[in-house]
Subunit: 99 residues, 2 copies
C-alpha cells in the first residue's frame, strides 16, 4: 500500500497565508520524487493552523524527498514562520476516490 | 476555496479491514455529489484507527452528500463497527499536487 501522511503545523500569528503559499508552490516538484498527492489546507476553526494530507509511493520516497534541494529550500523558508507545534499521522493508503 | 475534511474513527478491534473496504467501496458514487477526493487510510501506529481525507467542491456539497441513499447505507453498515470515538478537522483547500 502507498504511504500516507496527515500533519498539522502551527504558524506564528499573521503568517499563515505566506506558509500556505510556500507549501503550494513547493508541491510542483514533488511528483518526480514519488508523491501522488499533496493537499495544503487551512483550518477553519484555528486561524494559525495548516493541515497537509499527502500520498507517496512509499515511505522511502517520502523520506528521501526531504533531502531534495527544493525541499530543503522550502523547509528553510517556512520553518521560521512556524511555532514548532506539529502533529503527524502516518498511514497506509487503502484507496478511495481521486487517488 | 474548496472544502476539506480530515477525520479519524476508531473501529472495534478486528473490524478495521471491513470498515476500510466499506468506505472504499462507498467512495465510487461520491464524485457526482461534488467530491473531488476521498482518501481512505489505516493508521500505522494504531491498528484500530482509520483516517480519511476529503476534498469537496463546498461544505454544502459535503453536508448534502450525507443524505444520499448510498451514503446512508454506507454509514449504516459501518457505524456498528465503530467505537464512537472520532476526530474531525474542517479546512479550506489552498492547493497542492494531484488536487
Amino acid at each position: 500500500m502507498r504511504y500516507g501522511y496527515i500533519g498539522s503545523m502551527k504558524v506564528k500569528p499573521g503568517h499563515r497565508a505566506e506558509v500556505v503559499a510556500a507549501l503550494v508552490a513547493g508541491s510542483d516538484g514533488l511528483r518526480k520524487a514519488g508523491c501522488d498527492l499533496y493537499v495544503v489546507t487551512e483550518s477553519v476553526t484555528d486561524e494559525d493552523t495548516v493541515w497537509v494530507s499527502e500520498v507517496w509511493q512509499s515511505k522511502e520516497h517520502h523520506d528521501a524527498s526531504l533531502q531534495l534541494p527544493e525541499a530543503k529550500a522550502s523547509i528553510g523558508k517556512v520553518m521560521p514562520l512556524l511555532t514548532g507545534e506539529f502533529t503527524r499521522q502516518e498511514t497506509r493508503v487503502a484507496g478511495g476516490l481521486g487517488i
